[in-house]
Amino acid sequence: MPAPALDAGAPADAGSARSIRPPFDLEKTSLGVVLVALAAVSVWSLGHLEMGALFGERARDNIVGFMGRAMPIEFPPVGEVASGVLVTLAIVIAGTALSSALSAPIAFWAARNTTPHPVVRNLARGVGVLSRSIPEIVFVIVLISVMHLGPLPAVVGFGLHSIGMISKLYADAIEQIDEGPVLAIRAAGGSRFQQNVTGVLPQVAPSWIATSLHRLDINLRGSVLLGWVNVKGIGYDMHHYQEMSHWGMVIGIAIIFFVMCVLMEIVSSTIRGAILKTEPTGRGLGARLARRAAARRAARAGEGAEPAAASSTTTATADRPAVPGRTLPPMRGSRLTTTLGGLAAVAIVVWSWAYPGINWADMIDVWTKLPDRLSNMFPLSLGSKSWEDVGGMIGETVLIALAATLIGLVLSLVIGSLAARNVAPNAAVRAVCRGLLVGIRGIPELIMAIIFIVMIGMGPAPGALALGIAGVGLLGKLIADSMEEVAPGPEVAARAAGATRLQVYATATLPQAAPAIFGHLFYLIDHNVRSSTVLGIVGGGGVGFWLFNAVRLSQYDVVLTITVLVVAVVLTVELVSMWVRRVIS
């Protein structure tokens, strides 16, 4: 047996009695301290927010009274609904498409293996982080001040903010490719551009499309907020009826919006599944149907191929041109679906830019107005507030975010775990939990916040509750997916040793999924800091309330100051999260 080299962390006295306690590790210990501190602050702020009011008699009276005013649920006329839905869809699709187009070059610059220079790489990453940490609604508000009120500022605002997430995931996909084909093109004398287009793009295309579709879902859910800054669409209708306290109509529109979000999620996840060729392995109804369809397709393909093969060897197949000299494959099979899909996607994007009545002149005019607006933003100013007020508001925003994350984490761990195929005790539990997660994702944070405000009045508590529950839709799904992705072997090994279901979960499933879950958790904190700013718009408390006051008063210097503060907080969270992930993995 070869004598193993001593590990730096292991005790040096290899022969004598060893310690059964792990050696002291400064980084791991400080990680523990940081996590415990975060948890403690979260618990404290949860208590501080006095959620108890939610279960009090007044909340019950309020919700009963609200239900009374909201009944019967009404729906606006079909024409009004249709135009609102279409405008919202167009804005969201146009914004996501714009963002995808802008993200592609940024991703090539930001990926380790395709960046022209490390400096460029850091710059591109910086652009991504910055765009991620400025809430989309802040972009929209500033753009509205230099453009005509309409769909364009909304499209560009969503486009700019989405760059943060899309360019990061695009770059991650580039970093995971097989370098071989790129090397082959370089060896054959291809330019850098040719390497990227021919070697990289085909490898990352499925993952890029999936990323954009995922962002489309997120943007649709965020779009309801546009109504609160007077951009036309379904959110505008909702806001309009809310101002008039016409609650039956508000609920009606909320239901329409919910259905829209769920449908969009189903469509986008179906396309994503088809593109990423993920074999459905579940026992749910959808997976079973998909499997059966695939089997039928395979059977049909087999029937079709047999006579062809028997009759002659020169018969055209998918891989061989029918007419000698023809250099393109016949337009059927996968080539046909790819072509049709691509054309449909282009048509939809073109429609999304044409439909909502974009003021194209703004695209040019904005460049003359922008310098003026930017100069309005300097010097940074706190307006009438003192540093003490500002500290308090930022603190409140962070506390809301932490409390919301705690609520989200606890609920997500339970629901998300039970939604994972390898943890759920049976298919029914899994289906119910998956359905619950889709349902929660369909309800925008803003609508949840409004419901909680109705129950317990304005303040930080409804904001934290709304964010917390909305976070379950996101985190729960990510946790479920991470758990299904763990290697099954260690679970089998634990089971073979006689472990119970709970023991297998704690010893084999959870530790393997933990690094991914920590990543998702910090993503949620990050998301909650940004969203708790946004919820200020409906009186959710914190720095957001101040932000929207500043907008109302056209104090753009204050708007920039607040944005800088929010960005600083978000960046701090990102730095901590990077450190945590490095120590854990």
Partner: protein, 281 residues
């Protein structure tokens, strides 16, 4: 060889059907205490499936499996877990929890005798941790206790997996292709370790392999599987590598290879008597 009175593992006409394929087709074996049995056969011949019946990871479609005197078909959740505690298993891909420390992985072998889930090394009782360290020393990796399991080489990971298996104080050790993912040197180390430990602790070992040399060197008895059927059952005593090679290849699933072999074998009297009545030879 098989003593029916004291067999620790006994199957009768064991059949296992997966959807449309028959993985095991009427396997009857008896394994007696303290012997080291090697299952030989190509991938897909049913070795892993047979092994997985011995601790109830798979349930028979028909026929019976009796382990340590218990009929597996009569055991439910708790009873099955109770049996699994007495039967350890090591896997081809080691199946350690990569992000956890080596020692915690070893401790997890004791889960069957602990109540409730465990999160983190310090949640295991001191006695378990101490025993884990002893077992880790036994496989020669005591100095790696607090390293992450996925930082070890393949051979080291398999030795950790053996230490984890020892935590159960098993009566039977099942090894599913334990060296198929290892280089020849590590393979020898691991097989020697399994053999030594089997002798020290008077374990019954059932080990699947596809390398003939290793089977011959480390096994007391060979069981040959082909397409789910038991086609060979012989002691390793006095077998030469050439004869085993012939047998091993006759246990192949490739018909052409078998036909070729048949011609070869007809010239060899010695080999012919080892060929069993599976109809093709």
């Amino acid at each position: 060889m098989a003593d029916h009175g004291t067999a620790v593992i006994r199957t009768r006409e064991l059949v296992k059907q997966f959807d449309t394929t028959t993985a095991l087709n009427g396997v009857t074996v008896d394994i007696t205490p303290g012997e080291v049995v090697v299952l030989l056969g190509l991938s897909g011949s049913g070795k892993s499936t047979l092994l997985r019946h011995f601790n109830g990871l798979e349930a028979a479609t028909s026929g019976s499996v009796e382990v340590l005197g218990q009929d597996l078909s009569t055991l439910g959740g708790r009873g099955l877990r109770g049996l699994r505690r007495r039967v350890s298993m090591v896997f081809q891909q080691f199946e350690l929890v990569g992000p956890l420390s080596v020692l915690e992985n070893v401790c997890s072998g004791a889960l069957g005798s602990l109540r409730g889930p465990r999160l983190g090394l310090l949640t295991y009782p001191t006695a378990v941790r101490r025993r884990a360290l002893d077992n880790l020393e036994r496989v020669g990796l005591g100095d790696r206790a607090f390293q992450r399991a996925d930082t070890l080489s393949g051979g080291q990971q398999q030795r950790v997996a053996i230490a984890r298996a020892l935590m159960q104080d098993p009566e039977i050790l099942l090894a599913d292709e334990p060296v198929a993912s290892l280089d020849p040197e590590s393979a020898t180390t691991v097989m020697a370790l399994i053999r030594e430990i089997a002798r020290e602790r008077e374990l019954t070992v059932v080990c699947s392999l596809h390398q003939v040399e290793l089977a011959l060197e480390w096994g007391d008895r060979l069981l040959g599987l082909r397409a789910g059927e038991l086609v060979l059952e012989t002691s390793t005593q006095g077998l030469t590598k050439e004869r085993v090679m012939a047998i091993y290849r006759s246990v192949a699933t490739d018909e052409a290879q078998v036909r070729e072999l048949r011609a070869e074998l007809s010239a060899q009297d010695a080999a012919q008597q080892l060929v069993h009545a599976d109809g093709t030879i």
